[in-house]
């Protein structure tokens, strides 16, 4: 190779150019700077050193010009490691950018910050990663997952902290993040399988929608995971199938035991989930994904299911040369164990003259593995063509392949041998030599009938120059010298003449031949042997000298020779086992298929061993994540449809088919729902309060627009389609959404798995945040609605207008983040009040949904209106003006902290799980005597705060759950009775202000007499 060094003139040029670059970078014009940066990037691309410009470049890191900035980033990442001190100057810029409202800027700042390999900034990086991991934008979170690996490679001591971040990100539900965080997991803590348990099912379900590269990583991680968590599905399936029927009819007692053991295997549903969810990916356009699914099936699927991967792997053979190479390697390993899988596709492995050499030899390998009694004649005919190939290396490979076929399939051994003998007269030396070597091996397996072949080869000896072939012939002569007694000494004579000029390997075999002949036919060969041993004694190679000395001592009787001499014949002419011709891919299956280690057949650094199946499956329940059933219904019954249409409106089309199926399903489910709602109405008399409020809200809906869920009418799917089409415009409005969610909360039923179909998921993801939050935490009806109303405006101050407000504790119809407030206005004066409405409000940003102006309120009349106020999760009062035609009254609503919540349903298990993630505050109190049983406690808590009751297994622990209206943060309350009258109240929430406030209120309520 020519040395790639730079000449002096080059250096000179470079430095003079650099001066000019420096000036350009320090100019005021962005365009000049940009030009300079472009030239610098070109230098870096060529591998030239541009590090001298570091100070000049780094100044531009905060440039407004985004392209310039990006190029500076590229430069910075390249040279920061070399110029650590100067690189630090740029850090503050990134720290600022990390707070930028533009997610792309936040993400790229984190990317660059984490790519700067300067150990001093590790704490800054750590902080940035932690923050980005809880960023709103999934893109930024993805970037933080990448940054984890970078920080880990810079400072492995951060491992524990990074694992925390990984754990957090693993819980992320965005498909964008999944692949990257699993990658980080694999790099930082691949042994922490326990972090996967809870996310296993989620990962399986998200898999189809994750980007291709992430899929590869996740699949390979899940393969490893599955091998540690599930039991082997490979209990000799074939045997089982054959035996099962006979065993059944014979009712043989001996077999039943065996049977039981076999039948007892039930595939873990999670194992099945993985297999089912990866299968569609065999159709991916990305070859890496296809092969990773193939290896997953190979390592995890029951034997009879592995067949599904065959077609896809064969399809990949049409792809690029490099892809073919890897795929063929994997097929080669597979085909040794499972011939049947690829046999029908045998012709796809036929070699073309245009294939690259390594492709050819792999195809040959596979064809040989696939050979059996039925197809051997076809394969051999194909091989005949290959032997004639102009690519001699390939022809030699074919001869070896023929040898392997001949030993594996005894029917064709003779045919092959004859074919190989014919090749001995080939003009090409490599072909002949290879044939000799292979024939030698074949003869060893059945030497009896082939003395003519040995004679033929002896004749060839003069013409063959390839050492290996010459050595092979000599060995054959010696081994079967008794079968060719005339010829063997003659061959020895010939080789004795050329001994000094032979290769080492030939010399060794010559010595061997001489020794064997000396023992069997000493009369003719004694002198020749002496001669050869003498030549060997003075050979340059010590191997040959050693061998010569050893042989001499062994065969030539003299006074010094020991007991061994007697056994010389038995030692040298012992029957030798025939060599086994086997594939070089035979033991490759110790590596996981599809890996780099498999390709290079050695353990690559960082290779993670695939463990053996556990004998007993570890606890399955670790993967349990309680799915809240109503949520699914809510999504399924109501969201897909309107959302689908809404999606269409947003330029997000769905297929008609989705329409049809979902509409029919909606209908069937709706029948259920209508029957349920009639049940509900039966009960309604008993639950007067609740259902009245419900029917109230429904009533309202009817007056505005006809709701789709009318109990009596059962429209056809088509009608429904149209009705719902009308509603599409509504679906964009917030109240409709919350209406849907409130309806969904009251329905229960079975949800088919399909509901998580791809298209549906799509439509959900496109949706803005509030609804998806609602989707995750199911809002339930209030447990208790206090009737207490508060004064808003006294009739004296209001000049006859009095107003009272109360919290109806219903989800707000206008916007999910608002708290609904009911105001009853009464006219206590003696004249009608006109135009009652809401005026200015403070704080000015207060998000509030006002009631429509009341045109006229007659004396003694009262009216109830509802408001929606977004308190933004704080107890800060909402101040506004209540106006009449003539007057304005400043009023304020100050909510108790408990009113800022919405109750949610969850199971005890989920509750505990959530609890672990949140910070808590707690207090021990002495309870009032009346409050020591469950009823009053629930009552008291429900009065204070709008929380839902969580069913509890223990009598002394009461749990309540809710979320804040505005941000949807979870609030969990636990009241644990300890002893007679003490109780521990624990509140878990990430809201650091609301928690203690709620605690204070609860303490007061529960402790009061």
């Amino acid at each position: 190779l020519p040395p790639r060094t730079r000449t002096c003139s080059d250096l000179f040029l470079l430095s003079s150019r650099n001066d000019d670059l420096k000036e350009m970078l320090e100019s005021n014009k962005d365009s000049l700077k940009l030009d300079a940066m472009k030239r610098i990037i070109a230098l870096i691309a060529k591998g030239k050193n541009a590090s001298e410009l570091f100070p000049a470049v780094v100044k531009n890191v905060a440039s407004k010009n985004i392209e310039l900035k990006k190029l500076v980033y590229v430069y910075l990442v390249r040279y920061a490691e070399e110029q650590q001190d100067l690189a630090l100057l740029s850090i503050s810029t990134f720290q600022r950018a990390l707070k930028d409202p533009n997610q792309l800027i936040r993400a790229s700042a984190l990317r660059v910050l984490s790519s700067i390999r300067v150990p001093i900034i590790v704490p800054i990086m750590m902080l940035a990663i932690k923050e980005a991991a809880s960023d709103m934008s999934p893109y930024v979170r993805k970037t933080s997952a990448h940054a984890i690996q970078k920080l880990y490679s810079l400072d492995p001591d951060q491992k524990e902290h990074l694992i925390e971040v990984i754990d957090k990100l693993l819980k992320d539900k965005s498909t964008l993040v999944a692949g990257s965080v699993v990658m980080a997991f694999e790099e930082v803590c691949p042994d922490r399988i326990d972090l996967i348990h809870k996310n296993y099912r989620k990962l399986c379900n998200l898999l189809v929608d994750v980007e291709e590269w992430g899929q590869v990583v996740i699949i390979s991680m899940l393969t490893r995971y599955a091998r540690t968590q599930f039991t082997s599905p490979w209990r000799e399936d074939g045997l089982f199938d054959e035996n099962s029927e006979t065993a059944f009819y014979e009712s043989d007692e001996k077999k039943t035991e065996n049977e039981d053991e076999k039948k007892s295997y039930m595939m873990d549903p999670d194992h099945r989930l993985l297999l089912r969810n990866t299968k569609p990916l065999l159709q991916s356009r990305n070859t890496a994904v296809v092969v990773s699914v193939a290896q997953l099936y190979w390592h995890l699927a029951p034997k009879h299911e592995v067949g599904v991967i065959t077609k896809s792997l064969v399809r990949l053979l049409r792809s690029h040369r490099e892809v073919q190479y890897i795929v063929l390697q994997n097929i080669a390993t597979m085909s040794i164990q499972r011939k049947g899988m690829f046999e029908p596709y045998m012709k796809s492995f036929y070699v073309r003259s245009t294939d690259a050499t390594h492709i050819k030899s792999l195809k040959l390998e596979i064809l040989t593995s696939l050979a059996n009694e039925a197809n051997i004649s076809t394969i051999l005919r194909e091989f005949q063509t290959y032997v004639k190939s102009q690519d001699k290396e390939f022809a030699a490979g074919t001869i070896q392949a023929i040898g392997r076929c001949a030993t594996n399939i005894s029917e064709v051994t003779d045919t092959c041998l004859q074919g190989l003998v014919l090749l001995l007269s080939n003009r090409d030396e490599t072909v002949v030599a290879e044939s000799v070597v292979v024939i030698k091996k074949l003869l060893q397996t059945q030497p009896t009938q082939h003395s003519d072949i040995i004679k033929h080869m002896a004749k060839l000896f003069d013409n063959i120059a390839v050492p290996m072939a010459r050595a092979s012939i000599l060995w054959l002569m010696g081994e079967y010298c008794e079968r060719v007694p005339q010829i063997a000494p003659d061959v020895l004579r010939k080789v004795a003449k050329s001994f000094t000029s032979e290769e080492d390997i030939v010399k060794l075999q010559t010595v061997n031949l001489a020794a064997k002949l000396y023992l069997t036919n000493s009369k003719q060969t004694k002198l020749l042997t002496q001669y050869i041993l003498n030549l060997g004694k003075y050979d340059q190679n010590y191997d040959i000298r050693d061998r010569t000395r050893f042989i001499r001592q062994l065969i030539v009787p003299n006074e010094k020779s020991g007991a061994l001499g007697k056994y010389a014949r038995r030692i040298l002419l012992a029957p030798k086992p025939a060599p086994v011709l086997e594939s070089t891919y035979k033991d490759r299956d110790r590596y996981q298929l599809g890996t780099l280690s498999h390709t290079i057949n050695t353990k690559a650094s960082g290779y993670l061993e695939l463990s053996d199946w556990p004998a007993v499956a570890p606890d399955q329940s670790v993967r349990n994540v309680e799915v809240i059933e109503p949520v699914r219904i809510h999504l399924y019954l109501y969201c897909p449809f309107p959302l689908t249409i809404q999606a269409l409106h947003q330029g997000w089309p769905m297929s008609t088919q989705t329409f049809n199926t979902s509409s029919s399903e909606v209908e069937s489910d709706e029948e259920k729902s209508s029957s349920q709602s009639s049940e509900e109405s039966d009960k309604s008399s008993s639950q007067s309060e609740k259902s009245s409020s419900e029917s109230d809200s429904e009533q309202k809906k009817k007056t505005t627009k006809k709701p789709p869920q009318k109990k009596t009418v059962k429209p056809t799917a088509k009608d429904r389609y149209h009705t719902i089409m009308k509603y599409t415009t509504l679906s964009n409005q917030p109240f409709f959404r919350s209406y849907l969610s409130s309806l969904g909360s009251r329905l229960h039923g079975f949800v088919p798995k399909k509901c998580l179909s791809r298209s549906l998921c799509f439509s959900l993801y496109t949706h803005p945040c509030p609804l998806s939050c609602a989707a995750l935490l199911q809002v339930s009806g209030p447990a208790f609605v206090p009737e207490k109303s508060h004064d808003l405006l006294h009739r004296m101050t209001g000049k006859g207008l009095s107003a009272q407000y109360q919290f109806p504790r219903q989800p707000c119809l206008y916007q999910p983040s608002m708290v609904s407030v009911q105001i009853s206005l009464t006219n206590t004066s003696d004249r009608p009040l006109e135009q009652i409405h809401i005026g200015d409000r403070s704080p000015t940003g207060l998000n509030m949904h006002c009631f429509n102006t009341i045109e006229c309120l007659l004396p003694e009349a009262s009216v109830t209106v509802s408001l929606g106020i977004d308190f933004n999760d704080s107890t800060q009062a909402a101040n506004f003006q209540l106006c009449t035609k003539e007057d304005q009254f400043s009023v304020s609503i100050q909510p108790a902290v408990g009113e800022l919540f919405l109750p949610i349903t969850m199971t005890e298990q989920d509750f505990r799980q959530e609890q672990g993630k949140l910070s808590y505050s707690s207090a021990t109190i002495t309870m009032a005597a009346a409050n020591t049983t469950s009823q009053p406690i629930s009552r008291q808590v429900a009065t204070v705060a709008n929380l839902g009751v969580v069913p509890s297994g223990q009598d002394n622990i009461h749990r309540f759950a809710g979320k804040t209206a505005s941000t949807g943060a979870v609030v969990l309350v636990t009241v644990e009775l300890r002893g007679e009258s003490t109780a521990l109240i624990t509140i878990n929430t990430e809201k650091s202000v609301m928690g203690p406030m709620l605690l204070r209120d609860l303490k007061r309520a529960l402790a009061q007499a």
Binding site: V74, K388, S655, Q657
Partner: protein, 426 residues
């Protein structure tokens, strides 16, 4: 995962390097050069080369080696697939992927590579997303940029990155809405000396060029979907729908993309015919002989159409690697032109269109090295051809419907059959 990337041209020079982690010295490529020297043909360089501290995974496209440096275990196909994606992107951006094009656009190349990988893990490989981040260079844009001072780099996160249809950007607008689909089938075959088929397979693709406003949702159905034995889809295709109804339903990416590749198994083709073979559209009559001891060889080749369903066979190109002993040829084509390279021994004959009335043939003699022995093997003949307006398998698109947008798009479907790896052994 991917540590660094080196681009090496056919003469063995590194003309571009990019590192995503710490810098790896370019001397690591010496192992690659060694392997390159050992290989008789450029294609024979092994795709995976282990070195003491790194692993080199390379692909060869357009006579450029893309050599990726890996430091630890990673599925090799992951890297290979990614490298091919890089080449595709370059081709998409610059029209061609040559050393000159890459050198001319080195800044864009660098910006692209920066976006495509983060810390060695693919970040954005979807061409729609990349095009929003980095606009492809065009003459017009270059002019505009110099005048207005605007840049080629996007300031916002591409809409596709966060959406569930990452392959399509929002706000696509066209005055003429059109969707074209090309059904292209390639036939791979090996024909033996006597003219009988050893193996024949049909592989097809549907390439689309979709220029539609907004977010159209398309469905494409086939008359005979059962023909398709094995398929792979662009991620936009809804797999469930295909499984259930054999209908392709998708929101297309904007511009050119490959919707589907498929394999037609030979068994499915003619269920009534006992011989389960693919219809071979051309036949070759050949007579290539070398005589022992003679310095002359005979060469005769005649091509003819066969089972072409009445369509003409066009763009026929015959090539053959003659044995090393052949010094020169003296041949007469009845049509088209032929060349023989005495150094590489490659014979190629550009036939053009086959006229069934007057079959093209190439006849004459070959002069052999005096004294050299007769070559063992007759050369293999590779044939390329095209048949317009016909898909060999008989696959037919039934209809194409659009939902979600109001306008009426212009739709077009074209069929074509091509020879893939079509070899005749003589």
């Amino acid at each position: 995962m991917i540590h660094s990337l080196f681009l090496v041209n056919s003469s063995g020079d590194i003309f571009l390097e990019k590192h995503w982690k710490s810098v790896v010295s370019r001397s690591v490529c010496d192992y690659f050069f060694e392997a390159q020297e050992r290989a008789s043909e450029p294609e024979n360089v092994p795709p995976v080369i282990p070195t003491p501290h790194h692993y080199l995974i390379s692909v060869l496209r357009h006579r450029i080696y893309f050599v990726a440096v890996i430091q630890s275990e990673v599925p090799p196909l992951f890297v290979i697939e990614f490298l091919h994606r890089v080449v595709d992107t370059f081709q998409d951006y610059f029209g061609v992927c040559t050393e000159a094009a890459i050198k001319d656009n080195v800044v864009v190349v660098y910006e692209l590579l920066e976006e495509m990988l983060d810390n060695g893990f693919p970040l954005a490989t979807e061409s729609n997303i990349l095009k929003e981040l980095i606009k492809p260079p065009t003459i017009l844009r270059t002019v505009v940029n110099t005048i207005t001072g605007s840049t080629n780099v996007g300031e916002q996160l591409p809409t596709g990155q966060l959406s569930v249809v990452p392959w399509r950007r929002t706000g696509v607008k066209y005055t003429n809405n059109e969707a074209y689909f090309d059904v292209v089938e390639e036939i791979d075959a090996i024909i033996d000396k006597s003219g009988s088929t050893i193996t024949a397979e049909i592989q097809g693709v549907i390439d689309a060029c979709v220029k539609l406003t907004g977010m159209p949702d398309l469905t494409l159905s086939f008359m005979n979907p059962r023909l398709l034995d094995d398929v792979s889809f662009h991620p936009c295709v809804r797999f469930k729908r295909w499984e259930a109804e054999r209908i392709l339903s998708f929101i297309p990416p904007d511009g050119n993309f490959r919707l589907l590749s498929y394999h037609v198994s030979s068994q499915n083709l003619h269920p009534l015919r006992s011989a389960s073979l693919v219809a071979i559209p051309v036949y070759v009559k050949h007579n290539i002989t070398f005589r022992e001891g003679s310095s002359q060889g005979r060469f005769e080749l005649t091509l003819g159409p066969k089972q072409t369903m009445g369509k003409g066979v066009e763009a026929v190109l015959v090539s053959s690697q003659l044995p090393r002993g052949v010094l020169n040829t003296n041949l007469n084509p009845t049509q088209g032109t032929y060349t023989f390279d005495p150094v590489t021994k490659l014979l190629s004959w550009d036939v053009g269109k086959i006229n069934p009335q007057k079959l093209p043939s190439l006849k004459g003699s070959m002069s052999l090295q005096a004294g050299a022995s007769k070559p063992d093997e007759n050369p293999t003949i590779n044939i390329q051809f095209k048949i317009q307006q016909s898909a060999l398998s008989g696959l037919k698109v039934n209809r194409l419907d659009m939902y979600g947008e109001k306008y009426k798009p212009f739709k077009g479907i074209k069929y074509m059959t091509k020879a893939g790896k079509f070899q005749v052994r003589t």
